[in-house]
């Protein structure tokens, strides 16, 4: 379990996160939703030690974030940021191999190669594994980065808008894969996601953020509600029940 306690983050005078507390539960998909600039990425970056916080505490499996050794934490928790620009020329397979760095320190073993192959297969990149990242489409590149995180094989996986650039088919496939990772392998996943219907259909728990505060959090029935969503996004929603799932209609 990752406990997020009273996190405050300020840039100058601007409070980007204002006393945020919640948990990322084991064995669940927790989705973070909210409008642009709500502070979702900032929160994920703080949880994954990419940026410092002003105050508050992050506790991962009972141990405060500061107490974790960085290379131990890299076997426990991984993050994929919203945008990923590289300054070097890499092949897909080389990128995915980097995911094994916490275990191999750069000297890949047979076992590492197995994880790399699996991750490539999962993301359907085996055929193009020797292509350079700068020759790929946006969606293929996104899948390569997700494969790197999969190869890292951590208990907690944080993904900031993993569906970026993906077409509907691949989006559905990735959400299903995340579901499998949780249901079959017991992983715990936190994602930031803009498509509320994906959040509604695939998550166990939803946290709704706005202006650096948590407006509400809970199960699907509680959050996918027209009043709450209306309040968060300042627009009209209507919610439909389709095949036992709640879908939002907005336009």
């Amino acid at each position: 379990m990752i406990e997020i306690r009273n996190i405050v983050k300020q840039y100058g005078d601007k409070r980007v996160l204002d006393d945020v507390s919640t948990v990322i539960d084991k064995g669940k998909i927790t989705s973070f939703i909210g409008p642009n600039g709500a502070g979702k990425s900032t929160l994920l970056s703080i949880v994954s030690r990419l940026i410092p916080k002003n105050s508050g505490e992050i506790i991962i499996d009972g141990k405060p974030l500061e107490k974790w050794q960085s290379n131990q934490l890299a076997k426990k928790l991984s993050i994929l940021k919203q945008s990923n620009h590289l300054n070097i020329k890499l092949k897909i397979r080389e990128l995915v191999s980097f995911g094994r760095f916490p275990y191999s320190n750069g000297y890949l073993t047979k076992e590492d190669e197995i994880y790399i192959d699996e991750a490539l297969d999962y993301m359907q990149l085996r055929d193009i594994q020797n292509m350079y990242l700068d020759q790929l489409s946006g969606g293929q590149r996104q899948r390569a980065f997700i494969a790197m995180v999969l190869a890292q094989n951590t208990d907690y996986i944080l993904l900031d808008e993993p569906l970026n650039n993906l077409d509907i088919k691949h989006s559905v496939e990735i959400m299903k894969m995340l579901r499998n990772l949780v249901d079959d392998l017991g992983k715990s996943i936190a994602i930031v996601i803009h498509d509320i219907n994906f959040a509604s259909c695939y998550s166990d728990h939803i946290v709704a953020l706005k202006d650096g505060k948590i407006v509400d959090e809970g199960g699907i029935n509680r959050i996918i509600h027209k009043d709450l969503l209306g309040q968060i996004y300042d627009m009209e929603f209507s919610i439909a029940d389709v095949n036992n799932m709640k879908l939002c209609v907005y336009y």
């Binding site: 030690r49 934490l73 980097f98």
Partner: protein, 316 residues
């Protein structure tokens, strides 16, 4: 493996150049004299080449930028300021200027003290902003340059000639003892660094990926900055400033070898650097019989290449 082949090719090319440099035109009557001149010179060319290639490679990984060189740290400007001040205050006949050994140690010492002051900000945990630190180095470097120029303008023109000598790297008249010391320092740094090559590969993915993969970012960066500072200080005090050589050779190595691995990039860029320096020196000295310092030629070629890189990066 194309990488390995290219590296073998470069290695053989370097060795041929070294042999040519040492043995060309020797005969039974002049060999003692020529060898005593050429062996130190070739050693100086090789270790400078390695130091410059290595420091630039590290600096580019550190800053995640392919068109920067460690001259941004302001160390070459500081070196020029030290030389100018010595001549300005003590005159061109002063012991510090004439005695290469004293000059070497004073210059290296001051450059390292300056670097450590500059890094103090970076070393504090909460201030890990590299760009801030670079900007600071850049501003101080510019300040040193203006100060040097100011003193040079007030100087006797004859004294100024001595400064001009120091403005461009030169491989003539290198003191053997200094050479041995520089050689040991640079060799030690390279050997010390080998175990970090894989970490630096991860760092070249950028800060966030590196942290995600468990790198102690702060410690790694600190380590690299110290290595760069020592390399630049030693090579500058040894032969003088050669700004563009590093930029040129590291980028050529990236293009030839097409790899991100520091292991290959280090060897490749060092060899290209040796080829460029030795080849250039041979051409200038033995083919054209010019007395132009090689760094003038390298800065010219480097400058043109830099423009090419800028245009290319812009176009992409």
């Amino acid at each position: 493996m194309v990488k390995k082949k290219s590296i073998w090719f470069l290695a053989i090319f370097s060795i041929v150049l070294i042999l040519l440099f040492v043995f060309w035109g020797l005969n039974s009557s002049n060999w003692r004299y020529f060898l005593s001149l050429r062996i130190p010179k070739v050693t100086a060319l090789v270790i400078t080449g390695v130091a410059i290639a290595f420091s630039t490679l590290l600096f580019q990984t550190l800053t995640n930028n392919r068109i920067l060189t460690p001259s941004l740290l302001g160390l070459d400007s500081l070196y020029m300021l030290i030389q100018t001040m010595v001549i300005f205050i003590l005159g061109s006949t002063s012991l510090i200027l004439i005695n290469n050994k004293i000059n070497f140690f004073i210059s290296v010492g001051l450059m390292l003290i300056f670097s450590s002051l500059l890094f103090k900000g970076l070393f504090k945990r909460d201030r890990s902003n590299i760009m801030f630190f670079l900007l600071f180095g850049l501003i101080l470097g510019t300040f040193f340059q203006s100060l040097s120029t100011f003193m040079q303008m007030m100087m006797d023109p004859n004294e100024f000639l001595h400064i001009q000598d120091r403005m461009f790297a030169s491989f003539n008249h290198i003191n053997t003892e200094i050479l041995i010391i520089a050689f040991i320092i640079i060799l030690a740094l390279v050997l010390y660094s080998i175990k970090y090559f894989k970490l630096w590969d991860v760092l070249s993915l950028g800060r966030d990926h590196a942290i995600n993969l468990g790198l102690d970012y702060h410690k790694t960066i600190r380590n690299m900055v110290v290595i760069v500072a020592i390399l630049v200080s030693v090579s500058t005090a040894l032969v003088g400033p050669i700004t563009f050589l590093g930029l040129l050779v590291v980028n050529l190595a990236r293009e030839f070898l097409n790899t991100y691995e520091h292991k290959y990039l280090f060897i490749g860029s060092s060899l290209i650097s040796i080829v460029a320096l030795l080849g250039g020196q041979l051409l200038i000295e033995r083919v054209f019989n010019f007395s132009t310092p090689i760094s003038v030629v390298i800065n010219l070629i480097g400058g043109v290449y830099f423009l090419y890189l800028l245009l290319k990066e812009n176009g992409a």
